[in-house]
C-alpha cells in the first residue's frame, strides 16, 4: 500500500492505495467522481482524460500513487463557480457536440487543454489534438463545431 495525497478540483484528497490502483479508479471509486469515464481500459479511447498539473493525461494509464502532490482536475471541476456550464461545456450543448455523451467528459477536458495552448485552432489542429479521444457514436463533426464555437466566443 502507498499513501497518496493530491488536490482534486481544488480540494485535498488523501488515501492509502494499492500500487495497482489506477487514477481513474481512485477518482471514481474512492472519491465518487464518476464523471471521469472508463470506456476501453486499454488507453485508446480518452473518456478518462483528466488534467494533472494542467496537462491532459489518460487517468486509466497512470497510477493513483503517481499523482502524489499533484493538482488533478476532472470534469466535475469544469463548471463555473455558480454551477452554470463553462463556455466550452455550453458550446458542446449548443452545437450538440455529443450523441450518447459517454465520451463528452474526456472531449471537454481535451478541449480545455487545446484552447489553453492554442486559442484559435484550425479544424485540422482540432481533429489532430483529439486523436486520443474516441466517440463511439462518431459524433465528431458536431464536436469539432462546438470547439470552433468555443474558440471564437
Amino acid at each position: 500500500m502507498a499513501k497518496v495525497s493530491m488536490s482534486v478540483n481544488g480540494k485535498p484528497a488523501e488515501a492509502e492505495v494499492e500500487g495497482r490502483l489506477l487514477l481513474s479508479h481512485f477518482l471514481r471509486d474512492n472519491l465518487g467522481l464518476t464523471g471521469t469515464h472508463i470506456g476501453c481500459d486499454t488507453s485508446q479511447c480518452g473518456t478518462c482524460v483528466v488534467h494533472v498539473d494542467g496537462k491532459v493525461v489518460k487517468s486509466c494509464t497512470m497510477f493513483a500513487a503517481e499523482a502524489e502532490g499533484k493538482e488533478v482536475t476532472t470534469i466535475e471541476g469544469m463548471a463555473n463557480p455558480d454551477g452554470s456550464l463553462s463556455k466550452i461545456q455550453a458550446a458542446f450543448q449548443t452545437h450538440h457536440g455529443l450523441q450518447c455523451g459517454f465520451c463528452t467528459p474526456g472531449m471537454v477536458m481535451s478541449t480545455v487543454a487545446l484552447l489553453k495552448q492554442n486559442p484559435d485552432p484550425s479544424e485540422t489542429e482540432i481533429r489532430d489534438y483529439l486523436e486520443g479521444n474516441i466517440c463511439r457514436c462518431t459524433g465528431y463533426h458536431n464536436i469539432v463545431k462546438a470547439i470552433q464555437s468555443a474558440a471564437a466566443s
Binding site: 500500487g19 495497482r20 480518452g46 489518460k58 497512470m62 479521444n133
Partner: protein, 261 residues
C-alpha cells in the same frame, strides 16, 4: 492487473537501490507498461516509478549537442528541443497529446519497441545513452526487438544527441495504431549521413548503410534511385508485407532527402 507495491524514489541512487530487488521493475511514463500490466502480460512484484526524479528532467544545449533527461516527456521534448527541430517534431508526432504528457524518452528507449519513433532518432543521430552506470553509444545500444544493452536495473538517465546540419523524419503511420508502419530518420553531419529505419525490421531499428554511403557521396534523392532494400528480415503482417515495408524504406528515405533540400 496482478498486485504489486509501488515505490517512488526521488533520486537516481534511490531508484538504483530499489531496483536491486530482483522482483522490481522500472516504471517510466507507463504508456506501454500499464496496458501490458492490465493484460497480465507482466507481473512485477515491485514497480519503481521514475517520474519523480528531478535529475532525470531537463533539456540543455552545449557545443552542438542537445542533452535530454531520460524522464522528459514527449510533450516536453516537442516544446523544448527547438535546438533540434526534427527531434522535437518527431516527439510531437508520437501517440496523442495525453500519451505525450506521460510517455518519456528514457522509457521509449528502454522498451525499444520495433515500431517506436525515438530509436530511429537516437540511432540516426549517433546519440549517447547515459545510464546510472555508464555511457552507451546508440550503435551498441539497440540489440533487437525489445532488446537493449541495458542490464537489469540499469536506468536511462539522459540521452545526448549531436545536432546535425540537417535532418528529416518521415513516418508512414499505421492507420489503426498510429505507430510507424515504417519510419526513416535521415541526419546529415559534416562527416557523413546517417539513416535509421524503424517499424520495418524483425530485429527492430537499424541503419541502412547502403543509403548512408550513397547520400554521403551525393546528398540527393537521385543518389538513392539505384538502391533497393531487401525484404529479407522485414516484418510482414496484416498491415503490410515484408516486401511492402522494404519498398517503403526507400520511398521514405527519398522523401526525407527531398524534405531537407
Amino acid at each position: 492487473m496482478y498486485a504489486f507495491e509501488i515505490e517512488r524514489p526521488t533520486t537516481v541512487a534511490q531508484a538504483v537501490e530499489a531496483l536491486k530487488n530482483e522482483v522490481a521493475q522500472e516504471l517510466g511514463g507507463g504508456q506501454t507498461l500499464i496496458p501490458t500490466l492490465k493484460q497480465r502480460l507482466a507481473a512485477p512484484e515491485v514497480l519503481v516509478s521514475l517520474s519523480g526524479i528531478a535529475e532525470m528532467q531537463g533539456i540543455s544545449v552545449s557545443e552542438g549537442t542537445i542533452l535530454i533527461g531520460g524522464g522528459v516527456t514527449h510533450d516536453d521534448v516537442a516544446i523544448g528541443a527547438m535546438a533540434y527541430p526534427t527531434l522535437a517534431a518527431l516527439a510531437g508526432g508520437i501517440g496523442d497529446p495525453a500519451v505525450r504528457n506521460r510517455g518519456t524518452l528514457g522509457g521509449s528507449l528502454a522498451n525499444n519497441d520495433p515500431s517506436a519513433c525515438y530509436p530511429a532518432a537516437a540511432l540516426a543521430s549517433g546519440a549517447t545513452i547515459t545510464t546510472n552506470a555508464r555511457e552507451i553509444q546508440a550503435d551498441d545500444y539497440f540489440q533487437g526487438m525489445f532488446e537493449t544493452a541495458l542490464d537489469d536495473g540499469e536506468i536511462v538517465v539522459a540521452v545526448s544527441f549531436p545536432i546535425p546540419e540537417g535532418a528529416s523524419y518521415q513516418k508512414f503511420v499505421q492507420p489503426a495504431s498510429r505507430f510507424a508502419l515504417v519510419g526513416v530518420f535521415v541526419a546529415k553531419y559534416a562527416d557523413g549521413v546517417r539513416v535509421a529505419v524503424t517499424g520495418a525490421a524483425e530485429e527492430g531499428v537499424f541503419r541502412w548503410r547502403e543509403a548512408e554511403a550513397a547520400l554521403s557521396a551525393d546528398f540527393s534523392a537521385a543518389a538513392l534511385e539505384g538502391l533497393s532494400h531487401p525484404a529479407e528480415g522485414m516484418i510482414g503482417d496484416m498491415h503490410g508485407s515484408a516486401e511492402y515495408r522494404a519498398h517503403l524504406i526507400k520511398v521514405l528515405a527519398s522523401r526525407a532527402v527531398v524534405d531537407m533540400a
